[in-house]
Amino acid sequence: MPPAPLPTQLDQLCAQLGTMCDTVSTALRRASVALLENRERLATQVICDYRGVQAMRAEAEELATDALLFHQPVAGDLRAVVSAIRTAGDIERMGGLARHIAKVVVRGRPLPAEVRPDLARMGDVAVDLGRKAAEVVRTRNVLLALELDRDDDDMDELHVRLFEVLMDPGWQHGVPAAVDVTLLGRFYERFADHAVTVAHATVYAVTGREPDTIPI
């Protein structure tokens, strides 16, 4: 069977990355629900599902390699393929971070009440970023990609606030809970960072420039 034409392969690649991004966003939502509602079985499922994300990444990379091999793309098409290879790695990592959150749930230490609202909010912002990144990957909408930067600022603010709660002398929950919350905050923040990177890579693939230099 002859290979599909390059535009078809590129479309497949974008679709694959979009699906992957949605999958890890769903994983993060489920991990967050598991965290806030203390649902260990749900967390275990998130941990198991990570294998699927890894398989999707391998598939994306195979698609990209085929495109390079059969069509030897140049210029914009080459940029799109290379950026897809990188993006697949970022999205896989987002899945890994959702799994890390699920692992904290499985460890079974209760989550202190005063960090719940911030962590819940971080989960919402992160899932939203993941969904937007999926949309950017699918539609290559550069303006939407820039929106992710603002959302990420929200995440950074939440992260700073979480640390204030932790470092407060009134913290009553001891060191183990503080360690958990430190890591959870970091996982959400990294998830958001990777979502932004995915969007940036897409901007680069479309325009050939990193987002900062776009004059809008």
Partner: protein, 218 residues
């Protein structure tokens, strides 16, 4: 023509290996800055990180030119794709060394680490630096046995990490929450650094064998 092409591939590999050595040095300095509250050394690591980012861009541009001009196939294509991944991993290692240096700077002149925890970090630093150096060797030699060695070295990092956490969570911990938060994040940086070094080695295995080794346990 073919020779110039081979030369370009070699340059690509050499560029990545050099990058590994740079981030090894960065982690070595950052660890010393952390353990000895050496502000100047911390600043050095922080300002040099920009250079590592530049090297990454150069490596990527080289990979790009190879793809566009030479249209490599089979193993050569695997090399170029792996180089793109590798450059990303190694840059991230540089960022993590930077985070360690930033922690040292933020708390200066106070030590970040309680005394009984410092030896763990000295050891994690040693293991991390050795992993990055080995990754450089693996890139140059494509030796599968050394690539496999990185996995067991990474186990040593994981053991240190786990053990340190048991100290942190244990009843003997008297330093309260704030240092525990610092230590938690710092330990994570070292652990991630090691994971990225292993990922680089795994990519080389893929270049040589055409198959990725099993999933990375992170």
């Amino acid at each position: 023509m073919r020779d110039a092409y081979q030369e370009q591939l070699d340059e690509l590999a050499e560029g990545l290996a050099g990058m590994c050595e740079q981030v090894a040095e960065a982690l070595q300095k950052a660890t010393r800055a952390l353990l000895e509250q050496d502000l100047q050394l911390a600043e050095e690591v922080i300002s040099e990180d920009v250079r590592i980012d530049d090297v990454r861009d150069a490596a990527e541009a080289r990979a790009f030119a190879l793809l566009a001009l030479q249209a490599p196939v089979a193993t050569d294509l695997r090399i170029v794709v792996s180089a793109i991944h590798g450059a990303g991993d190694i840059e991230r290692m540089g960022d993590l060394a930077l985070h360690v240096a930033q922690a040292a700077r933020r708390r200066h002149p106070n030590p970040v680490l309680p005394t009984e925890i410092a030896p763990y970090f000295a050891e994690m630093g040693k293991v991390g630096v050795a992993l990055a150096r080995k990754a450089a060797d693996v890139i140059r030699t494509r030796d599968l046995a050394s690539a496999a060695e990185l996995e067991s070295d990474d186990d040593a990092m994981d053991d240190l990490h786990r053990h340190m956490f048991s100290v942190l969570m244990g009843p003997g911990w008297t330093h309260g929450v704030a240092p525990a938060v610092d230590v938690t994040l710092l330990a994570r940086f070292y652990e991630r650094y090691a994971d990225h070094a292993v990922a680089v080695a795994r990519r080389i295995v893929y270049v040589v064998t055409g198959r990725m080794p099993g999933p990375l346990a992170v």
